[in-house]
Symmetry: C2
Subunit: 177 residues, 2 copies
């Protein structure tokens, strides 16, 4: 179902700034949170920086296990993405509560999310700025794409549950990678 994606193309998923889901696993229990504070740091191997607040239940799992999956949802998952962001893994199993299907990853313990059109298996590669800013540098070690989801439209958070949905695509002559 999911097809492997070349690591050289990972930046094309995250550089546009979509809202993503982040899964973790600890002591046999998986969790998922909603995240918008992330950016590319290096093309290949793909490095991604992200900020995970200590207020998130996921923070301790990410810090302790140094593994996560970044799953990219399209707009049809927006209601689930917001519900995921509005609740805590301290209280509920969000996969079950919101109908997100965990799928085993190849190289990390946290699950992929079946409904997302892309899934990135990550290891923490640098925790130097975690204490100061909750900023993790992740390395993407394996990437998956769902070829059945054609031209998925992602969502971009403007605050307080307001999102811009991807509109038309434009192509300009560019030397930029």
């Amino acid at each position: 179902m999911m097809k492997e994606l070349s690591l050289s193309k990972v930046y094309q998923l995250l550089e546009p700034g979509p809202v993503v889901l982040l899964t973790t696993a600890r002591k046999g229990r998986a969790n998922v949170m909603t995240m918008s504070w992330h950016m590319m740091v290096e093309f290949e191997p793909p490095l991604v920086a992200c900020v995970v607040s200590g207020a998130n239940h996921s923070f301790a799992a990410l810090h302790a296990t140094r593994e996560c999956v970044i799953a990219v949802p399209s707009v049809r998952l927006a209601p689930k993405v917001v519900k995921t962001g509005n609740s805590s893994g301290r209280d509920i199993d969000k996969f079950e509560a919101f109908g997100l299907t965990p799928v085993p990853a190849a190289q990390v313990a946290p699950p992929l999310i079946d409904e997302c059109f892309a899934n990135l298996e990550c290891k923490v590669s640098d925790a130097a700025l975690v204490n100061k800013y909750n900023l993790f540098v992740l390395e993407v070690i394996k990437a998956w794409i769902d070829p059945a989801q054609k031209n998925p439209k992602t969502i971009h958070h403007h605050g307080y549950g307001k999102f811009a949905v991807d509109g038309r695509m434009i192509k300009l002559k560019s030397r930029m990678r």
Copy 2:
């Protein structure tokens, strides 16, 4: 013309992941580059992380002066944004070449860009990860918005000059800030 924007709202501009322009100034000469690798790190005071490659002429100016302006263009500036990304301040004055109007900032030497709908005056607040990743943490110290540009649509880079333009806005009931 530009109106001051509360620093508490800065994250609403950058969290959605728009392509931005970054201005610097050194030895009396301003420069501008195109940037997509940035993220919010803290709400207020607003902290922003960004990656500026050492291959960019702007890198040395940002590193030496520790000041920049992040200017946010709407889609109508897309051709200028791409031209800015395809050329170097080593060779040309990009403001003049591409018709971008520098406007003096209030608290930093690099200029605002008159055509952009938002401009953020920034100081480098942390350079700890510059040597390793070219990653700067910036503090936004003053923010400006152009009230004449209503509902500006931003662009999001998918690689090689392909951009998603903001489409429809959706609003979901959320407790997320």
